[in-house]
């Protein structure tokens, strides 16, 4: 595990940081938020990747748990970042989702349907539903934690 963190984990963190910051540029987020949102995205993706390595279950359950915890991490960190920079939360949590979000799977569903592989399309469709649902639940949990943190502080 330690070896994984210092090789693949480190590389994946850097990749996710770059991807999130660059996606932030595409979504036209304010420049002063780019760096921080990159780190929020990196934290979320590292959580997901680590859980994906550790969990001993089937792919769909790995996806569900990994994305759920990663969404909670992103939600809580975006809440803190939004409070720190006095900006709305979506400036941090929308770009940070880019590695997790089921965009690739949604396109694969259509592509496999069109090219005549309905069974594979079905698998990807299940993944789209699982990931999107789990991220939404993760954000709800994160909002709850953010409110708890806020009440503890006051």
């Amino acid at each position: 595990m330690l070896h994984w963190i210092f090789t693949t984990g480190l590389l994946q963190t850097i990749l996710a940081y770059l991807a999130t910051a660059a996606f932030g540029v595409l979504l036209n987020i304010p420049r002063r938020a780019l760096n921080l949102s990159g780190w929020v995205g990196a934290a979320g993706w590292l959580t997901y990747e680590a859980l994906y390595q550790v969990l001993p279950t089937t792919i769909n359950i790995k996806l569900a748990i990994g994305n759920l915890v990663a969404a909670v991490v992103i939600g809580v960190f975006s809440g803190l970042a939004a409070h720190y920079k006095r900006m709305p939360m979506i400036i941090f949590n929308i770009p940070s989702l880019v590695p997790l979000v089921p965009g690739g799977q949604s396109y694969r569903v259509v592509r496999n349907l069109v090219t005549g592989h309905p069974a594979i399309a079905n698998q990807y469709l299940a993944q789209v539903v699982i990931i999107a649902g789990v991220i939404a639940i993760g954000f709800l949990l994160a909002e709850f934690i953010n409110r708890l943190l806020w009440q503890l502080r006051h």
Partner: protein, 250 residues
Amino acid sequence: MTDANLLMNTTLLAGAILLENGAEIARVEDTMQRIATNAGYPDAQVFVLLTGITVSLPTVAASQVRAIHQRGMDLEKVDQVNTLSRRYADHEIDLPAFATALAHVNQAVPTFPLSWLLVAALIVSVTLMVAFTGHATLIDLTTCAVAGVVGFAAFFAINRIGRIRFLSEFVGAFLIGLVTLISFWISHGHLHPDAIIIGAVMPLVPGVAITNAVRDTMTGNLLSGPARAIEALLSACAIGLGIALTSIFY
């Protein structure tokens, strides 16, 4: 109590900017309600759908509607509306100044020049291809970079020229497939087309829209959530079809 007409216009404009630039329904409703409350109408009724917003003030028996025809993603504008609404709540600016500032936000030009956007599309494509698939040979990296930039440039250009919906996604995806196909021929098949395409389509795919659809539905917006999902489904179809047209050849 302030001028009801100006208040309704300002509230609608703030809501419209938020909705047109990627905010969730709950945030739009919350912001509009706050503006009305701060202006002295705590009983204002705000009703937000994905395609139109309504605000009505029962005390003066007045209401207004505003239709929303296009939705994109521009978080800078969301941030600016948020800042303005916060300053209005702190009494730093009055309602007329708020209204003028909002109109200004709506016409503001994007902060990042086109060259930045193209570089960003390149970075998103290449980094996510490596992160998702682990393929990083030289030919994979270069093809993915070219495909990602070409696809996004086409997507951006068509969005600029005309408002034909889903055509931009389709053409962008088609060009990504074409670049991959050409590279496939040049390198005699020594590359991973699936990995390249999954990276290159990342700037275009409606992943955020799908997640927002679920989030909107979960906050009780049972009309807007599914509507967003259909919009996302159509753009996924456009991209999937664009890629499928060229993927027959390998």
